[in-house]
C-alpha cells in the first residue's frame, strides 16, 4: 500500500509497548460510533441532571412537610420516631436520601473507572511499532481511554471533515485541520502569529487531491494517535490532548511541514511553541501539587521536632528562603535537573558544602530557589528534610559598626546556626568575603574553621572569575565542592523565558508572540555580550513588555519588530526590517555620502557596499561589521569618510572611537591599550562601554608591530581579551585604519596618470610589505587608496566649507553668499597637492572668518543683513531694509 507521496505505509496495528503492555487506539471510529459516543455522554449527563432535580424536589418536599406538620411542636423534630411515622413527606425524605447516594455513585464512579497514563521506567526506549496481529500480545491498553475531551473532539472533527469531503481515509491533514479549533492549538497559532486564513487555501487544495471513498479511520490516523500517546508519555503528561495530536501530525507529515514553512514557520519554532504551551500547563500542575505538599512544612523558625534554637542575631542579617517558598514567593525552577541532582548528591554524599560557579545571570539563584522549593515540599534527601534554607547577607555583617568587629559577628551568626541545628546557610558571592574584599576583612578563615567542625554546611555561589581569583586560592577551597553552572543553550533559554512570560504578560497587559521571544533571545545573545542568558533575555522581555504597554493599547501583541525597535534604541543600530524608503536610501548611499565627501569614488563605493551588506545581515557575525584600511596622503578625506560612515550607520558621527596610533609606538604601550590586572585599557574599556561604534585607528603604520598583532585577532575573531582576563566583544564595531604609508608613491603615480587599481596592487605587493605583514593586510575587507585631490576637488570642497560658514552665520540671523568666482579664487589659494584640502581651511579662516569676526565686533553687520564674498576677497555688507 502506498500513500499519496508514494511512500509505503507499514501494515498492522500501530501502538506503543510500555513494559509488557501494548497500548493502541482500540476504539472503532465511524460516523455511527462517534454519534453513539456523543449520545451516550449526553444520556449520562441527563441521568445526573434528572437525579439531581428529583433529589432536590424530594428533599424540599420533606422539609416542607416537616415544617407544616410540626410548626406547633418543633420539639418532635428531635425525636427519631418522627421520621419513622407514616407520612408521604417522610416517604419523600427517605427516597431523597437514597437518591443522594445514587448521585454519589454517578459522580464518583468515573474516579474508579479513570485510566491513568502508564508509568515509564527511566531510560526505557519507547517507540511506535506495528503489530501484524493483536493475538500475540497478552496485555493491552486502549489509548482511547487516555484521550482528553478536546482530543476526542479533534478525532471526531477529523472524521467528520474526511467524511464530508468523501475521502477514503482520515489522514494527518484532517487531524491537523481538526485540531486547529481546540483551545491549545488556537493559542499556539496565536503565539506563532499566524491564522487559519494563512493556510486555508493550501489545505483545501491538498484535500482535493485525496482519494475518494467511504471514510476509514485507518492505519495512518491511528499511527498519529499512537505517536501523540508516545509524546505525552515522554513529556510525563496526564492525558493525550489535542496539542499532542497537532504536534505529531506536523512531525509526521511532510506536506504540513512544507505548509507552515511556506508561511515562514520553521520546525524549531513549532516545537518550541508547543513546549511553551506544555510548560504553562505543567507550571499550573506543579503549583497545585506544591501547595498541597508545602502545607506540611513548618513555617516558623522552629522545626517539627522542636530541637532548634531561636536565632535572633542571624534573623537580622538573613532571609529565610524555605519560608518564602512555603508562602509561594519564589519563582519556579525550569530545567537545570543536572545541577540540582549534582548538588543534592554532593550534599547527601559527604555532608560537603558546595559552591555554584557561574557567570552572573545564568541562574545560580534560580537553582537555590529550586532547592528551597523542594525543601518546602520535603522532596529532598533526608539530610535536608525539616531544615531551613537561610540566606545570610555578608554586607550586613560587614557593614555594621563601620566594619569593625565583622569577624565576631560572623562567628556569632555561625554559632547560632550551629546551635539551632536546622539551618543550611546560603552565601551568595562568597568571593566577596575572602581576602579582604569585604571592607578589608577576610571572613574566610572563620567560615573554614567552623565548617571543619562539621555541624553545618553551606551552599555558596560565585562567578568563574571570583572562583579562580579568590575561592580557589583561599582556605575554603578544600571545604567546597565546585558545581559548574553553564549558560543555557538557545533553546533552553527560550524555554526558561517561556516559563517567565506569563507574569510579564499579566503585569504589562501584553501578549508575546513566539517570534518575539526567539528574537529576544537571539538579539540579547548577539548585542548584549556583557550579560548572560537567561537573565538578559528576561530583563529584555520585561523592557519590551513595558515599552509596548506604554503605547496605551491593552493586550497588544508584541512582535519581532517591537523587540528590534528596543534593541535599536539601545544600540543606535538599525535593526527593524528594511522599509521601502530605507531601502531606497541604502541604494543611494553613495550619493548621500558624496554630500560630504568629494571625489574618492572607489572608497565611498566600497564602504557603502559594506554597510548595505551589514544592514541586510549578510555579514559574518563573528567578525567586526567591516575592516577597512584607508591609504593616501593627508587631507584627502580619510577621516571625513570615517566620520560620515559613523553618521550613516550609527546615527551620529560622535559614535567614533579615535586612536592616534603614533602614541603607541613601543611595546609597553600594549598595556595602555588593553590594560593590566586592576586597570582598564584605553581601547578595551572604550569598546566595552561603546560596543556599537566606529573604531578609527589613525596612522596605523606608526604603531608597534606587536600592536598590529592585537588587531589581527580583533579583525579575525571579533574579540580581544583585556589585561583583566575579560573578553571584549568587537563584533559590532566598524574598524577603519588610516595610513600615510606609500603616500609619495601614490602621489607620483597618480601624477603619471596610472590607474588606481594598478597603484593599489603595487602598494600591497611592494610598498606596504615593509610595514605590514601580508596576513595582516589580508584581514581587511577592503584596502582603499585615496587619490590626491585635484584643483576641481578642492573647489568643490571649498563650496562645502562655504556652506558651513553660511550655516554658522545663519544662527546669528545673517545671510552669507559667495559667488563661484570668489570661491574659485579661495580654492586656488588653498590648493597644495601635498596637503590636500587642509590648507584650504586655513585660507578660509584667514580670508572669510577673520573678516566676518571683525564686522561683527565693529557692529557693521546685524541681524537680517547679508554678507557677500566678492571676487578679490572683499566682503560687502548688504543692509536689510529698515522695518
Amino acid at each position: 500500500m502506498d500513500d499519496q507521496n508514494g511512500k509505503s505505509i507499514p501494515q498492522g496495528t500501530p501502538g506503543v509497548s510500555v513494559g509488557a503492555r501494548f497500548w493502541f487506539f482500540e476504539n472503532k471510529i465511524s460516523g455511527g460510533s462517534l454519534n453513539a459516543r456523543e449520545a451516550k455522554l449526553l444520556g449520562q449527563r441527563l441521568i445526573l441532571i434528572a437525579s439531581l432535580l428529583v433529589t432536590v424536589f424530594l428533599l424540599a418536599l420533606a422539609i416542607f412537610g416537616l415544617v407544616i406538620d410540626y410548626q406547633e411542636n418543633p420539639s418532635y423534630l428531635f425525636q427519631i420516631d418522627t421520621y419513622f411515622t407514616a407520612s408521604p413527606y417522610m416517604l419523600a425524605m427517605w427516597f431523597g436520601l437514597l437518591s443522594i447516594s445514587f448521585i454519589f455513585f454517578r459522580a464518583f464512579e468515573g474516579r474508579t473507572k479513570k485510566k491513568f497514563m502508564p508509568k515509564v521506567k527511566p531510560k526505557a526506549t519507547l517507540n511506535v511499532s506495528y503489530l501484524p496481529s493483536l493475538d500475540i500480545v497478552e496485555k493491552h491498553g486502549n489509548i482511547g481511554d487516555l484521550l482528553s475531551t478536546d482530543a476526542w473532539e479533534t478525532v471526531k472533527a477529523a472524521y467528520e471533515l474526511a467524511d464530508k469531503g468523501g475521502h477514503s481515509q482520515v489522514l494527518p491533514v484532517h487531524l491537523f485541520a481538526a485540531s486547529l479549533s481546540s483551545t491549545q492549538v488556537r493559542t499556539l497559532f496565536m503565539r506563532l502569529g499566524i491564522g487559519f486564513d494563512d493556510i486555508k487555501d493550501a489545505l483545501r487544495r491538498n484535500m482535493n487531491t485525496i482519494e475518494k471513498g467511504s471514510t476509514d479511520f485507518g492505519t495512518k490516523a491511528r499511527t498519529i494517535i499512537s505517536f501523540a500517546f508516545l509524546r505525552a508519555l515522554k513529556n510525563d503528561r496526564q492525558a493525550v490532548s489535542s496539542i499532542e495530536i497537532f504536534a505529531e501530525c506536523y512531525a509526521q507529515d511532510e506536506f504540513l511541514q512544507e505548509l507552515l514553512y511556506s508561511i515562514e514557520i520553521e520546525k524549531e519554532e513549532v516545537e518550541n511553541t508547543i513546549e511553551w504551551i506544555i510548560i504553562n500547563d505543567r507550571l499550573q500542575e506543579r503549583y497545585h501539587q506544591f501547595r498541597r505538599a508545602a502545607g506540611f512544612k513548618s513555617t516558623g523558625a522552629m522545626n517539627k521536632a522542636y530541637t532548634s534554637v531561636e536565632t535572633p542575631f542571624l534573623d537580622r542579617v538573613s532571609e529565610d528562603l524555605t519560608l518564602a517558598a512555603v508562602r509561594g514567593r519564589l519563582p519556579m525552577l525550569v530545567g537545570r535537573d543536572r545541577e540540582v541532582e549534582e548538588l543534592l548528591r554532593s550534599i547527601e554524599g559527604g555532608r560537603q558544602s558546595v559552591v555554584l560557579v557561574g557567570a552572573p545571570g545564568v541562574g545560580k539563584k534560580a537553582i537555590i530557589y529550586g532547592i528551597a522549593e523542594r525543601m518546602a515540599a520535603e522532596r529532598v534527601p533526608e539530610i535536608l528534610q525539616d531544615k531551613r534554607l537561610v540566606k545570610i547577607s555578608v554586607p550586613h555583617i560587614v557593614s555594621a559598626d563601620a566594619g569593625s568587629g565583622a569577624e565576631e559577628r560572623m562567628l556569632y551568626a555561625l554559632q547560632e546556626v550551629g546551635r539551632s541545628g536546622n539551618i543550611v546557610l546560603i552565601i551568595e558571592n562568597i568571593d566577596q568575603m575572602i581576602g579582604g574584599m569585604a571592607g578589608g576583612v577576610d571572613l574566610s578563615p572563620i567560615l573554614a574553621s567552623e565548617l571543619e567542625k562539621g555541624y553545618t554546611f553551606v551552599i555558596a555561589t560565585t562567578t568563574p572569575q571570583g572562583y579562580t581569583s579568590a575561592v580557589e586560592r583561599s582556605v575554603l577551597a578544600q571545604q567546597f565542592t565546585k558545581i559548574q553552572v553553564e549558560e543555557p543553550s538557545r533553546n533552553e533559554a527560550i524555554h526558561i523565558l517561556e516559563s517567565k512570560i506569563g507574569a510579564i504578560e499579566n503585569i504589562n497587559k501584553v501578549i508575546f508572540s513566539y517570534p518575539a521571544l526567539a528574537k529576544i533571545v537571539d538579539l540579547s545573545e548577539r548585542y548584549m555580550h556583557e550579560n548572560y542568558l537567561p537573565e538578559k533575555a528576561i530583563l529584555l522581555a520585561q523592557e519590551v513588555g513595558n515599552l509596548v504597554m506604554n503605547r496605551g493599547q491593552e493586550w497588544a501583541k508584541i512582535t519581532e519588530d517591537d523587540v528590534a525597535e528596543l534593541i535599536s534604541q539601545k544600540t543606535n543600530i538599525p535593526m527593524t526590517d528594511v522599509s521601502a524608503e530605507e531601502g531606497a536610501k541604502l541604494l543611494n548611499l553613495e550619493s548621500k555620502m558624496h554630500e560630504r565627501i568629494i571625489g574618492q569614488e572607489e572608497a565611498v563605493k566600497a564602504v557603502s557596499s559594506a554597510l548595505r551588506r551589514a544592514r541586510v545581515e549578510l555579514r559574518s557575525e563573528k567578525r567586526p561589521i567591516a575592516n577597512f584600511l584607508f591609504l593616501g596622503p593627508t587631507g584627502v578625506g580619510k577621516t571625513e569618510l570615517a566620520k560620515t560612515t559613523a553618521e550613516v550607520y550609527f546615527g551620529n558621527e560622535e559614535s567614533m572611537l579615535r586612536f592616534d596610533m603614533s602614541e603607541y609606538q613601543d611595546k609597553s604601550s600594549i598595556n595602555r591599550l588593553i590594560g593590566m590586572q586592576g586597570e582598564g585599557g584605553l581601547l578595551t574599556e572604550a569598546v566595552r562601554k561603546n560596543p556599537f561604534s566606529l573604531l578609527l585607528l589613525d596612522e596605523l603604520e606608526k604603531a608597534d608591530p606587536d600592536i598590529l598583532n592585537l588587531f589581527l585577532q580583533v579583525m579575525d575573531d571579533g574579540r580581544l581579551t583585556d589585561g583583566a582576563g575579560r573578553t571584549i566583544d568587537f563584533t559590532n564595531v566598524i574598524l577603519i585604519a588610516t595610513s600615510n604609508a606609500g603616500t609619495q608613491y601614490i602621489q607620483d603615480e597618480v601624477e603619471k596618470g596610472i590607474s588606481l587599481e594598478v597603484i593599489k596592487e603595487h602598494l600591497l605587493e611592494e610598498e606596504l610589505r615593509t610595514i605590514y605583514r601580508p596576513e595582516f593586510l589580508n584581514r581587511f575587507d577592503g584596502v582603499m587608496v585615496f587619490k590626491p585631490l585635484t584643483q576641481e576637488n578642492v573647489e568643490a570642497i571649498a563650496h562645502l566649507m562655504m556652506q558651513k560658514v553660511a550655516k554658522r552665520l545663519e544662527a546669528k540671523g545673517i545671510t552669507f553668499t559667495a559667488n563661484d568666482q570668489a570661491i574659485r579664487e579661495l580654492a586656488e589659494k588653498g590648493y597644495d597637492p601635498k596637503f590636500g584640502a587642509r590648507p584650504l581651511r586655513r585660507v578660509i579662516q584667514e580670508n572669510v572668518d577673520n573678516a566676518v569676526a571683525e564686522f561683527l565686533l565693529q557692529g557693521k553687520v546685524s541681524r537680517r543683513d547679508t554678507l557677500v564674498l566678492e571676487p578679490g576677497g572683499a566682503i560687502r555688507v548688504e543692509k536689510a531694509a529698515e522695518l
Binding site: 454519534n35 453513539a36 456523543e38 449520545a39 451516550k40 449526553l42 444520556g43 449520562q44 441527563l46 441521568i47 434528572a50 421520621y83 419513622f84 411515622t85 407514616a86 407520612s87 417522610m90 416517604l91 425524605m93 427517605w94 427516597f95 436520601l97 437514597l98 447516594s101 445514587f102 454519589f104 455513585f105 454517578r106 464518583f108 464512579e109 474516579r111 474508579t112 502545607g295 506540611f296 517539627k304 521536632a305 522542636y306 530541637t307 532548634s308 534554637v309 531561636e310 525539616d386 546551635r419 539551632s420 541545628g421
Partner: protein
C-alpha cells in the same frame, strides 16, 4: 434529531443498568474509594501532627538546651506532647472510621426507612 432520540434511549437503558449496578458498586469499588480517602486523610493528619518526629526525638533535648535539667524537662514535655498528639490522632481516626461506617450503613438505613414507610 436522531442524536436526541439516541440520547433518550441511552438515558433509559443506562438508568436501568445504573440502578442495578449502584448497590454493587457501593459495596465494592465505592467502598475501596472511600476507604482510601479516609486512610489518606488520617495519614495526612498524622503527618501534620508530626507525631513520628516527636517519638523519634523523645530523648533529644528541646531548643538545644543540653544540660541535665533541661533534658529532663524536655523528656517530660515531649512525653506530654506525644500523649496529647496521639490522643488527637486517635479521636480523628475514630471520627473517620465513624464516617466510613456511616457510608456503609447509609443505603441500608435509607432502605429500612423506605420499607418502613411503605409497610405502614
Amino acid at each position: 434529531m436522531e442524536k436526541i432520540l439516541a440520547s433518550i434511549q441511552y438515558f433509559f437503558v443506562d438508568l436501568v443498568t445504573d440502578l442495578v449496578r449502584w448497590p454493587f458498586w457501593w459495596y465494592s469499588k465505592g467502598l475501596i474509594l472511600v476507604t482510601g480517602w479516609i486512610f489518606h486523610s488520617i495519614s495526612n493528619y498524622s503527618r501534620s501532627l508530626a507525631l513520628w518526629v516527636w517519638i523519634k526525638n523523645i530523648f533529644v533535648p528541646m531548643f538545644g538546651a543540653r544540660d541535665i535539667q533541661s533534658r529532663l524537662i524536655s523528656f517530660f514535655v515531649r512525653l506530654v506532647q506525644i500523649i496529647a498528639r496521639s490522643f488527637m490522632l486517635l479521636i480523628f481516626s475514630i471520627l473517620m472510621i465513624i464516617a466510613l461506617a456511616a457510608y456503609m450503613i447509609f443505603p441500608v438505613f435509607c432502605v429500612y426507612g423506605l420499607i418502613n414507610q411503605l409497610i405502614l
